[in-house]
Symmetry: C2
Subunit: 746 residues, 2 copies
């Protein structure tokens, strides 16, 4: 591996199996940084529906792979990382030998289908590389990927009956009609192209592909599992099941047959495109010439090392593994959604060309506006700039004229509360990482925030809150809109648009409308202006909240902690309220049915596994006992992140959990994205050097650091003490040194 | 209407209602010459399936309109003309007033849905223009079209509850899953764009559209009739049924609501594209500026007059109507399949750009190779050149590497026997209308003719016939392949490729292998080389034939009538055999179940409503009584073509029946396309002048012409008598005069 003099080999600290057990929802397969292809094993294919109803088990398979499973169904090319709802899993490939099986079979009886047993003892899971022994077939499977192309290498035993299955029906969060259409052309004896169109979490989604084999297949065929097509009359002129090169339908699996020698490798390059088969082929040919698997793997891993070296830390081995696996997980989404020629499919389902920027998709913004995009504004400012530009294209191409809520593959699924894209845009404007027209971007934020027919916004504008009667998650929405409005106001201030500032700074105070002063908690308010009486303060469901109960959401005023503390009765009362949150007993019943988190993801009533309270540990900085931020942050770092498959206390959520970890491990956190400051905590690392894109370095050092020494006696920025627990964004990007002096006493 | 000095106003002789009753399967709506849009009323929407089985009634609605129906469901934008299987019917538009109805309702109870009663008394059906009064709503509907854009004009009564329905589920030969996907964007209050993807006779087909209203709608909405979509959770954040601009699903109808004044016109421009929404919009903007319905109608009708003036005839009024309606029907397919910017979707489902030619689709080649393409080689040689180029693109883009069999909208449905595209290609090479690389085109013919796994070709090559055991239509296939092979041989001869000539001229003699000399009829042959014994000479079904029984197919050796006559026992026996065909009694049972023809479509055992015997009346020219060709042709002209809705004796088959009419009415017919000669019959017209593209004129005159004077005493070409009943292609294209001297005696 070629590393520059300054670079360390950080790959050993990335364990892609972290988060694959319990609630992490990460995938262990191969991807390039921010790559379009996520080539990863799927250990089962659970249907979204069971007997016409939602099948809760599907949730476990958000990323396709469960560490506790004993079999692998195959390797598919697209996966979300850490989501709490899912989609994708396109183009499942599985090598087999022996009798041709065209069904995956069951976990209980693996021999009933093409799936294979496997063991973690024979599994390697690295950044950009995954390998496993498929026990049932004695096939060694190896995977790597470039940005748009998956590269498979299968080492076969001797066989005159070897197969490679291409399953075009399989998918994540699959259901009977999910595959809307499939089209495949067998171009020659070692190249096929086609597309797969799905109706899933993305309503209208098409992925084009080109699949190239290193060895010609001797025979091929398809099986069509759809019995509903009616126009088959003259199509019977061919036997379309065997060696017929034009394949289309809704439920297709294909097989490609080979003779293999002992130890013979058959390789597959599998490229994706959002636009066309030709573009997929161009992507493949542009990214990978020839069949040198090792070279491609080495290049991708070198790319990863380059990205990982953006932050160099000194810490314990376990903490390094947590840190660099977090860094890895934060650098795999949003994903590149653009061909090498710049073309991509827009939200209008038309083909567009990205002019001077990389177009991205997979925006889990309710999660990622909090810490991931702010993290990018420090370590990936160019990419974040392009992400904002991608969001602006979404806006332009959108017949709704809204910035994205939760978007992937030219669709918005409108998942979760708020319109947090505006905060990502505002944060980039304020921190100077967006180099487009900031006024146009701000206009897009304003239009989005005034979309009256979306999720209670009309009421919110008219009344200052969303009546409980009219919206099931009225409090979450009001609080999050108010926060986003504040971010709009900040960007408007920076751009000198005071009329906009005045309007939105007023709206940002709407959190007060759901604040019941009598109990100093956030509560749903009714049309008549009174607070709802039938209400369980611990419960999330049907109480006006989503992914967080009143306890967690009552602190959701990241933009105005000082006034929140006042509203809660002053600094002391604020401290007590925070203490209660972190020490209360939350009965099992209130999270047992909650997706996304585990028992371990909860500290008292604080739920780290979901995002709404991610800033709350830092609110002690506005209380009468700021040291509690330090203690609590270190407690969360230790409790919620472990270098094991079950090490994540909740969904990684496209890198948000990871970004929280890295910020906090370095001793600061963006409590209020849209501002130009960070709130200080307690660093976990001995030292962290952030190698900025501008060539400067920002270093964090913690003196006298240890597991017990979690309290900060003093902090110095470039030798000057910081008293207000705040670090400015400019202090970071100008380069410099932040030194924490640690102690075991408060 | 602006006509040049040489042009006549021939529009009065086009009656687009001809063929809309019984078996003609034509549509009465508006289309431009060879246009992409066929905007026509649909009088019902019959499902292809009824209780999971084929619904025979669907066949009647191949063109969407039945003259005998009493209601109109709406006006859709794509229709086949005269086919015996169907598809299309995209984007049904219906204006209504009063209560909003989102179902079409039934013919029995029109008030149950949005359909309306209508009367032929209030209907105008012209080339390029259709108008009808929608009685139930007192709305006058008018339609015209440019090549790629339909233009609707609806004159409303006063109403504050007027609607325009856009039905995206409706289709011809529809079934429950036919609409694979629909996508619609409401761009603004008077423009929507989107696409519709179907799985029908064309397996993978997408039509993009742009729909522009002359007046902003005050409100709009959709109804989604699909209950199967599961991922609806966050999509509920909007009320997607009303004024929601991003619409997608499988079963969508939309409504657009208006207030109207008495007599207010609301107009719609509806453009199609095979490629994209943007291209559809570009097509519309390029073809129609503004909202002047009359101007567009006048231009399209002027375009029609220009096309119709390519042949100017003198004849009775009825014969003129038959002739010009035939000319109209022969100039509406194949259809333009290319955007104004040259882009089209290829057979590989990728976007291509036509370089220097117009790309066409809708190739019903089993029908049209016989007379329609030969007709084009005289009157539309440039278009026929482009059609051959389109077929070559089909070949290049086809993973199967075959020229088209029956292709439409970037698909082949492989309908009917033979590989007759090779004859169209050969005919164009031989007649010099193809200006591409003839050797490459011949290669494509050869590859197609050697596609061993298609419809018995392997056996045909190996054995010289297709064993009855292995193919249900073995005799039709063998005879048609033999004919096509002869055409290949002719092209090879012209190109000096004698190896190819020798191979295919030999194959062209394969008709002899199915010729049972003992009864001098074509019969199915078994693997062991014996003829099948259980056989009904009158029956078509399960006897080795398709759309023609042994009687009709026994004469199918158009390329070698002389030897056929010999094989049948010489000229006298040949005459007797032909006499038998035209005079025998074919019991009802043998055609009662046959699609495509009526009792009137049969003369003796000769079935004019189907194509295999279209050349047979001319075979008398090789018999001992050539004058019988004259008598028989005139009899067919009179019996099978009438200027009434029920005037066609069988499916018009994309203009083949019409081309037969025009050739025969002018006194000659291309018995063997792929040759450079025509066989002479008996002209119906007094005079016909063909205005050739090269500026020359070929004139046919019949002296002493009358209904009784059907016999030809003498024929002179440029004053020189023709004795062999043959006219050379060069004699026509060089211009000149053909004079028939008619008599009432043989």
């Amino acid at each position: 591996m070629n590393l520059s003099a300054q670079q360390k080999d950080l790959l050993p600290y990335v364990n892609t199996l972290i988060g694959t057990e319990k609630m992490g929802h990460t995938y262990p397969g191969a991807t390039a940084p921010f790559g379009s292809v996520q080539l990863s094993p799927d250990t089962d294919t659970i249907s979204y529906e069971l007997n016409g109803k939602y099948n809760k088990d599907v949730y476990k398979y958000c990323a396709g792979y469960r560490y506790e499973d004993k079999t692998i169904v195959g390797f598919s090319h697209t996966h979300f990382s850490g989501t709490g709802h899912s989609d994708l899993g396109d183009f499942l490939v599985m090598p087999t030998v022996g009798e041709l099986k065209m069904n995956p079979g069951t976990a209980q009886n693996p021999d009933s289908g093409f799936r294979s047993r496997f063991s973690h003892d024979e599994e390697i899971a690295q950044a950009g590389y995954y390998s496993v022994n498929l026990k049932d077939y004695k096939i060694k499977a190896e995977l790597t990927a470039t940005t748009r192309t998956g590269f498979h290498q299968y080492t076969f035993p001797k066989s005159n009956n070897a197969h490679i299955i291409l399953d075009l029906m399989s998918g994540i969060y699959n259901y009977d009609d999910k595959t809307v259409w499939t089209y495949v052309r067998v171009v020659n004896d070692s190249l096929i192209t086609g597309y797969r169109q799905t109706n899933g979490w993305a309503r209208t989604r098409t992925v084009y592909f080109a699949m190239s084999f290193s060895k010609p297949f001797k025979n091929y065929g398809r099986k069509d599992f759809d019995a509903t097509q009616v126009y088959r009359g003259f199509w019977r002129k061919f036997n379309q099941n065997e060696n017929f090169p034009e394949i289309a339908g809704k439920k297709i699996r294909m097989h490609f047959d080979f003779d293999t020698e002992e130890g013979e490798k058959i390789q597959i390059k599998f490229a994706l495109s959002p636009v066309s088969q030709n573009n997929a082929l161009e992507n493949m040919q542009s990214e990978i010439q020839g069949w040198d698997f090792e070279a491609v793997k080495n290049q991708t891993q070198a790319d990863w090392n380059k990205e990982l070296n953006k932050i160099q830390i000194e810490a314990s081995e376990n903490d390094k593994t947590n840190f660099y696996t977090s860094l890895y997980h934060s650098f795999i989404n949003p994903t590149t959604y653009m061909d090498v020629n710049g073309e991509y499919k827009g939200l209008d389902q038309e083909i567009h060309k990205a002019d001077g920027f990389t177009h991205y998709t997979t925006f889990s913004l309710w999660d990622t506006y909090r810490a991931l995009h702010p993290f990018f504004n420090i370590v990936q400012p160019s990419r974040n700039n392009d992400m904002v530009k991608s969001m602006m294209k979404h806006y332009e191409q959108n017949s709704l004229k809204m910035l994205p809520i939760w978007s992937h593959y030219a669709n918005d699924n409108w998942c979760m509360s708020g319109y947090h894209s505006v905060t990502v845009v505002a944060d980039a404007i304020i921190k100077g990482t967006f180099d487009g027209d900031a006024n146009i971007a701000l206009d897009a934020c304003i239009v989005t925030a005034n979309k009256r027919n979306y999720e209670g916004i009309g009421d919110y504008i008219d009344l200052g809150f969303i009546p409980d009667e009219r919206n099931g998650t009225s409090v979450s929405n009001t609080l999050e809109y108010a926060y986003d409005d504040w971010a709009i106001a900040q960007a408007a201030m920076k751009l000198g648009r005071m009329d906009v500032y005045n309007e939105f700074i007023k709206r940002s105070q709407n959190w007060r409308n759901n604040f019941d002063e009598s109990i100093t908690m956030m509560l749903p308010k009714k049309l008549d202006g009174t607070f709802r009486k039938e209400f369980d303060i611990n419960d999330t469901h049907g109480q006006g909240f989503i992914e967080g109960n009143s306890w967690n959401y009552s602190f959701f005023v990241p933009h105005d902690p000082e006034n929140l503390a006042k509203a809660m009765g002053g600094k002391k009362k604020f401290t007590q309220k925070l203490n209660t949150l972190f020490t209360m007993h939350l009965p099992d019943e209130f999270f047992a049915d909650t997706e996304d988190i585990t028992r371990e993801g909860i500290i008292g009533g604080y739920v780290h596994g979901n995002e709404p309270a991610h800033h709350v540990a830092y609110l002690y900085n506005w209380s009468s006992e700021p040291w509690k931020t330090q203690e609590t942050v270190r407690h969360i770092l230790e409790m919620q992140y472990k270098p094991t498959p079950d090490g994540l206390g909740g969904n990684d959520d496209c890198g948000q959990m990871s970004a929280w970890y890295m910020f906090s491990a370095m001793g600061f956190y963006p409590v209020a994205p849209g501002s130009d400051w960070y709130s200080l905590g307690s660093p976990l690392v001995d030292k962290a050097s952030i190698n900025l894109e501008n060539g400067k370095t920002f270093t964090v050092e913690s003196i006298n650091q240890s597991k017990e020494n979690v309290y900060v006696k003093k902090v110095e920025l470039n030798g000057k003490e910081i008293k207000d627990y705040k670090l400015k964004h400019s202090d970071i990007v100008n380069g410099g040194k932040l030194v924490f002096y640690m102690s075991k006493s408060k």
